[in-house]
């Protein structure tokens, strides 16, 4: 019954159950931490065993449990290179998130339970090979977000939570309609991704359901113009929830676009590709300019997420192997980087009680570690070599440029230009808030990061540097699977 992949869901589930029975706040935190550490080690084990196994089929460790026989819904789990790397990303962000939540003192049990629920949703989503089960886990990850923001958030939290829930629910509704269409209109009457890919979805059906599913998942990953939940949602959320939101939830969308939309419906993807490219370039460029005017660090990072997630969709829209590789790397890179950003902003906010760029200043003097962490996250965000962001963006650019035609070239140039704007807003923020004159007297004696916060930052930084310095490891992991997707596109394009 218990196989390699179900265990991935069972670990957080078991952690949650243990927490239910714990009374002491510290004990709850410790259980949560132990669970998170266990998850991370288990994910690493999973990757190792994935690499060592022979790739006899596209998905490894496939296991099918019948879930709802009459409707032909099975709990099918299986992983390929893309999902296994997303799983590792999730576990790293979860661990970092638990570490920075150590000083939560209000409704501790509920808080960590919700975090566990979120990670169950994410893991379940990444391992399932059944559209309906995927949808189920996606929903499982949305509800805790609403509560996390509404209860532990700051600022106009009720508004933000509602906005987030509304938009994400809209996305879910679109996805649901899309997959139901596929289910009922296909002869196979199945949600099974492997089977659907084998049989192929009729082109006419793809034309209807692709926009639904792609837009639905797109909303999760800040597709323009459905991105407005991102700034408010991220900014009102407590630190760990922001990290989860940007680091994991937005990746659910990107992964969904790739797996459920692009992989299953290649004809429609090719047909709609120009629209995808257009919307993502708008998100990239316009997001970057909107970021330029933000005065709050969290808003700044949230808007920059809109811009950066545009790269994911751009990579998919450019349809070739290189650009899709770039899109996957960008998902992971952005997940890590933005989690690091939110973590450091959270640490700054906790100590200075402000996130306004104008009110901060010179805090690196008393908090060298936190200040440096912020700058490192910033450098990764502006695509400095040595960090993961560079690898992702450059792979997308090179891939995008290989497409014939003025439209693609101009889009690529605009996307490239955004990295200059990124440099401007990152440097403006860090020059004013982190370095410069010490803005207030009390900033002279702030306490630097404690052990947990340092561990969280170091964990994320190591992951970022690992991709930045040895990108071939990640590429080797995902190459085969992105090739399958791009090969579909390639056949369609050349047959035209």
């Amino acid at each position: 019954m218990i196989d390699k992949l179900s265990l991935l869901i069972l670990i957080p589930l078991f952690t949650a159950l243990l927490m239910l029975f714990a009374k002491d706040k510290l004990l709850i935190k410790r259980i949560a931490l132990a669970g998170a550490v266990l998850q991370m080690f288990y994910s690493i084990l999973l990757i190792v065993s994935f690499i060592n196994s022979e790739r006899s089929s596209q998905f490894l460790f496939v296991k099918s449990i019948s879930w709802y026989k009459t409707l032909n819904i099975d709990f099918i789990s299986g992983i390929d290179g893309i999902s296994v790397s997303m799983i590792l990303l999730t576990s790293i962000v979860v661990l970092a998130g638990v570490l920075v939540s150590w000083d939560i003192n209000e409704r501790v049990k509920d808080y960590f339970l919700l975090l566990s629920l979120l990670s169950i949703g994410a893991y379940g989503f990444f391992i399932s090979l059944d559209l309906f089960v995927m949808f189920f886990f996606l929903e499982l990850a949305v509800i805790p977000k609403y509560l996390l923001i509404a209860i532990w958030g700051s600022g106009k939290k009720e508004y933000s939570a509602m906005k987030l829930a509304l938009l994400l629910m809209t996305g879910s509704a679109l996805i649901l309609i899309g997959i139901l269409l596929i289910y009922f209109r296909c002869e196979t009457q199945t949600f099974n991704i492997v089977k659907l890919a084998e049989v192929g979805i009729p082109v006419e059906l793809q034309r209807i359901s692709f926009p639904l599913i792609f837009t639905g998942f797109g909303i999760f990953t800040a597709l323009f113009p459905f991105h407005t939940w991102v700034p408010d949602g991220h900014s009102s959320a407590p630190t760990a929830a922001s990290m989860f939101l940007a680091g994991i939830s937005m990746k659910l969308g990107g992964y969904g676009c790739l797996r459920a939309a692009a992989y299953l419906m290649p004809q429609a993807t090719v047909e709609y590709s120009k629209i995808i490219v257009l919307l993502s370039v708008i998100a990239i460029f316009y997001g970057a300019f909107a970021t330029l005017m933000q005065k709050d660090l969290k808003y700044m990072n949230a808007y920059s997420s809109v811009s950066h997630c545009g790269f994911i969709l751009l990579g998919i829209g450019m349809l070739n192997h290189t650009s899709i590789n770039g899109a996957v790397i960008q998902m992971i890179s952005h997940g890590l980087m933005t989690a690091l950003f939110f973590a450091s902003i959270g640490m700054i906010y906790k100590r200075t009680h402000t996130r306004k760029i104008d009110e901060l200043g010179g805090i690196i003097k008393s908090m060298p570690f936190i200040g440096s962490t912020f700058i490192i996250a910033g450098l990764c965000s502006l695509g400095l070599p040595g960090f993961s962001g560079f690898v992702a963006e450059m792979t997308i650019f090179i891939g995008a440029w290989q497409n014939e035609g003025m439209f693609y070239k101009v889009s690529t140039i605009i996307a490239c230009a955004s990295i200059v704007i990124t440099a401007v807003y990152i440097l403006r923020a860090s020059a004013k808030a982190i370095t410069g004159k010490v803005a207030k007297e009390e900033f002279e004696n702030l306490k630097d990061a404690d052990f947990n916060e340092k561990s969280a930052s170091v964990l994320l930084i190591i992951a970022i540097l690992l991709i930045g310095f040895t990108p071939f490891l990640l590429i080797n992991l995902i190459n085969q699977d992105t090739f399958i997707i791009s090969e579909n596109f390639f056949k369609i394009i050349t047959s035209k």
Binding site: L180, L181, L384, M394, I419, V424, A431, K437
Partner: protein, 649 residues
């Protein structure tokens, strides 16, 4: 390939990579260890690592120039190390490795040597600084990036290190992070060069598309001579200019950003906010020559396939040389004068490349440019380190606070004088030889360029000696400070550089570095060099009359109004501020933010309000906060019913 015997161990891949990784190692050790541990030994660790790098580079240089690189056909390119770092597609991959050819070997020698001098000098200059460890770690990072840049086998590898050079200069310029000016200067340097790098990046993309490779050797092979790659890249044109020309001009924009060519020069004068030894490193050997190196690296493509792009290079260079020299005449901050002189001298190197042909006699400009890069590295480092001693002593950058310092700082005085003579082009100092070659190359190819260059040479002599006299002569009521030369670690580099400033002019450069790798016999014509020497002496004399002793002459000249635009650097900074603040921020960024807040967000909020209003009416079923859910539930249900109806016809 003929391998050296003694040097087999050093010449192994390990030895070669060690050149680059010693500085990286010291960056890691100094940067990552705790704040307090071995702070005392920071300078020691930094110096040792760079010394090791220097020794290895010297061995490699000897080995390359005299044993393994030399063949009957001239010098060959040796790809000593190359591994696939990131595979983009079947044909395009980003390799990282070490390419040895005359210019890269020369550059590792210069970079490691100047860096060594700066490391040693800093031990004295920065010894009271609390964050000396961070300082040395950044310095090592800077050296590492520059070394990685010059040995690149792959244009994308160069881009990687190019960006790293940018960020390490950012860190060093902003080293005094509590000074708002320093932070602003660092930001400016990074953003301006980043903007230029965009050109470089797009240029790389175009090149990669047409040549289907990122490897330098392959690119040069495919884009010169008759090949399908070249033909396809020339056949496509955009706005009447061929794709290849676009690519090369865009790449040059990247180079112009790092090399501070007009109009991207604005970051360099401000970059003096960093510690003075850092300025020496930036100006002499690292960042600013990167652009020259980039053009030199792709020179065969520029020269053989795309002369139009090379013309852009030439005119940018000669204009910048003159423009910066004019500004330098009016500045009163010692480091700013030197900064503008750097811009002007880099302009010489750039236009010299721009007017050069490929191979044989016509390749003189290329050789002269590299020669000038080499000699300039020595005397510019000397000038900056000398200025460092002065600033360290006076605690001010303004020349008005200085004067008559030759008595207090005799050694520095002499060294500074040598460097000034070298940059002015007085024999037998090194600058004379390289500048003479440049002028000769200009004379042979384009007379207009020659006369502008000659006038610039006059200005150079004038403003350098103006600076020299104002600092060391120009007697002032001397400040009562005693005669005290600085710490020995500051004096030794000065002396070493001074000696080199005298002797490097005699290096037979034509035998070592030429455009096509074949030996180019020296073109030293004494008769030709008479005019440049006279011009330089005239500049010095004029300075001597005006500035050697304190007099009222300068005030009487009353040039204030005439010189105002020059003194204000032709208002280029103001123009930039106008473009960024007024145009980009007000016309693009603000509307974007407004649009997001009011239109897109507004739509969402409106639909939210609408749901609120509707749900008011069905409120009896639900409590406050879940009204949104309720409505969505109902709406969803309706939609689903419709959908199912549609699905089942």
């Amino acid at each position: 390939m003929n391998q050296g015997i003694i040097l087999n161990i050093i010449n192994s891949t390990f030895g070669l990579s060690a050149i680059i990784f010693f500085p990286f190692l010291s960056f890691l050790i100094l940067g990552l260890s705790g704040i307090k541990s071995f702070k005392k030994y920071a300078s020691f660790i930094g110096i040792i690592s760079i010394l090791a790098t220097f020794i290895l580079s010297s061995i490699v240089a000897l080995e390359y120039f005299f044993i393994s690189g030399k063949t009957a056909d001239g010098f060959v390119k040796i790809t000593a190390l190359n591994f696939e770092w990131l595979k983009f597609s079947e044909s395009i991959s980003l390799n990282v490795g070490i390419l040895l050819d005359p210019i890269s070997v020369m550059m590792i020698l210069i970079v490691s040597f100047i860096s060594l001098m700066v490391h040693i000098f800093s031990a004295g200059y920065m010894k009271d600084d609390k964050r000396i460890k961070i300082y040395y770690s950044f310095l090592s990072l800077f050296t590492f990036s520059m070394l990685g840049l010059v040995v690149s086998t792959n244009i994308f590898q160069m881009y990687i290190f190019w960006e790293l050079v940018g960020v390490s200069s950012f860190l060093l310029i902003g080293y005094y992070y509590q000074k708002p000016e320093a932070v602003a200067a660092a930001k400016k340097a990074f953003i301006v060069t980043r903007f230029a790098d965009l050109g470089f990046l797009i240029g790389i993309l175009i090149i990669s598309y047409y040549s289907q490779s990122l490897d330098f050797v392959t690119i040069i092979e495919r884009l010169t001579g008759e090949s399908q790659y070249l033909n396809s890249s020339v056949a496509v044109s955009f706005l009447g200019v061929s794709a290849l020309t676009w690519a090369l001009v865009l790449i040059f924009i990247g180079g112009a950003g790092k090399s501070a060519m007009f109009p991207l020069h604005i970051w360099l004068p401000d970059a003096m906010e960093g510690p003075t030894p850092v300025s020496a490193l930036i100006h002499a050997a690292t960042m600013v020559v990167a652009g020259v190196f980039l053009v030199a690296r792709l020179f065969p493509v520029y020269s053989l396939s795309c002369p139009a792009a090379l013309d852009v290079v030439a005119f940018t260079g000669v204009f910048t040389a003159l423009f910066a020299a004019l500004i330098a005449c009016t500045q009163t901050d010692i480091k700013r004068v030197l900064a503008y002189s750097t811009i002007s001298q880099i302009g010489f190197m750039i236009f010299s490349l721009g007017i050069s042909g490929y191979g044989g006699e016509s390749g003189l400009g290329y050789m002269a440019s590299m020669f000038h890069l080499f000699t300039h590295a020595m005397f510019k480092a000397l000038l900056f380190l000398g200025a460092g001693v002065v600033i360290h002593y006076i605690h001010s950058n303004e020349v008005k606070d200085m004067g008559g310092l030759r008595k207090q700082l005799p050694i520095t005085n002499l060294c500074f004088l040598f460097a000034c003579l070298a940059i002015s082009g007085i024999p037998p100092f090194s600058g004379f030889f390289s500048k003479e070659e440049i002028l000769l190359a200009a004379w042979n190819s384009n007379k207009t360029v020659f006369f502008i260059a000659l006038f610039t040479a006059f200005l150079t002599a004038f403003y350098m000696f103006r600076l020299y006299f104002l600092i060391f002569w120009h007697n002032k009521p001397s400040n009562s400070k005693s005669k005290a030369e600085s710490h020995f670690s500051m004096i030794i580099p000065l002396l070493v550089l001074a000696v080199l400033t005298i002797i490097t002019g005699f290096v037979p450069f034509g035998n070592l570095i030429t455009s096509d790798g074949k030996i180019l016999h020296s073109h030293f014509h004494f008769s030709f060099s008479i005019i440049p020497i006279i011009v330089a002496i005239a500049g010095i004399m004029l300075s001597a009359i005006l500035f050697k002793t304190k007099s009222n002459k300068t005030e009487n000249l009353n040039l204030e109004n005439l010189l105002k635009p020059v003194k204000n650097k032709f208002y280029i900074d103001e123009i930039y501020i106008f473009i960024t603040r007024k145009l980009v921020f007000s016309l693009v960024a603000k509307p974007a933010a407004w649009f997001d807040k009011n239109i897109i967000d507004g739509t969402v909020n409106y639909s939210g309000e609408l749901t609120g209003k509707v749900s008011e009416k069905i409120k009896t079923l639900h409590s406050g906060k879940t009204q949104g859910y309720a409505l969505w539930f109902v709406l969803g249900l309706i939609i689903l019913v419709l959908v199912f109806a549609y699905i089942f016809y």
